[in-house]
Symmetry: C2
Subunit: 205 residues, 2 copies
Amino acid sequence: MEFSSKLLEKAVAEMSQLPGIGKRTALRLVLHLLRQPKSQTEQLATSLHQMRTQIKHCKVCYNISDVETCEICASHNRNAQIVCVVEDVRDVMAIENTSQFRGLYHVLGGKISPMDGIGPHDLKINELIVRVKKGEIEELVFALSASMEGDTTNFYIYKQLKEVHVKMSTIARGIGVNDEIEFADEITLGRSIANRIPLENALKF
Amino acid sequence: MEFSSKLLEKAVAEMSQLPGIGKRTALRLVLHLLRQPKSQTEQLATSLHQMRTQIKHCKVCYNISDVETCEICASHNRNAQIVCVVEDVRDVMAIENTSQFRGLYHVLGGKISPMDGIGPHDLKINELIVRVKKGEIEELVFALSASMEGDTTNFYIYKQLKEVHVKMSTIARGIGVNDEIEFADEITLGRSIANRIPLENALKF
């Protein structure tokens, strides 16, 4: 693509570095901004700048936060003895939306993925070990994705903590509510048979 | 969605104002930026800011440009007697890519679209009339999309200029090169029969 303006070219190049945004989409977005009032671009640029420079991570759970200790960790209404281990802030948001979990979180910041060059030391795993070894946590609930990387991460943490007195569980994997059995993939269906649960538990809701 | 950080929420809100980007995608993009070096966000914010505040429109053709008169209008190797009327900079880029047009452009900045509240006065139509009336242009080639809005815009300009001594043409509409006849829509196929061209012209390439 040949641009009639270096400024336009630069903006498109930067925009197209975002995941899933190619050159054409980037050009469409940038041209849209050009048609909108200047204030919109100003606000976008300022909010991105402020977000990137001022955002903090909670010093307890490493979730994204504006303050040193996030709202959830600072709350007196949460059960500090049960901690849910998640990949990133989106998982915290998804679990909070269910209103089914009243414990705290630990945000790893990703999962172990040798293919992407992410090892245990790139994640907040050591911080989790230290946090557990303080002895105040009774149960860790792992809520990582049911992928190879998620399982690897679960297993790595499990090995590090198996000598420590802490209960470890993982969220249930199985057929989703309202999903059709016939369309479920074999692995999920197979696991859901192997890990079947007492009927009275399933009827609770 | 409930965010754990106001800064994050603001950045996502601004990002999701872009067309085709919902809240979820915006969050994914913003979290991506958080994982990348600070410099990437800085460069994105700066380039958007500079683009929006410093970009100019060529005073002759209204194409996006870094200078008063764009490269194409300033070039001595272009034929200033033939002007191609297009909607926006993307069309200029597409036509330039073909290397088939050596004239100048006139960028309207959109097409007449009452549904979107865009009338003739929101576009550079008056500027085109003034430009043509100077008497240096011999032919206008309309390259607007073959939609209701494109045709309306063509017709509006045609009416304004029919008393003026200038040739007006539109780019050929018909079956695309390599397209299968059986899959062409009826209107395109019908028009391509009505506007058939001498075989020797079609064999030129």
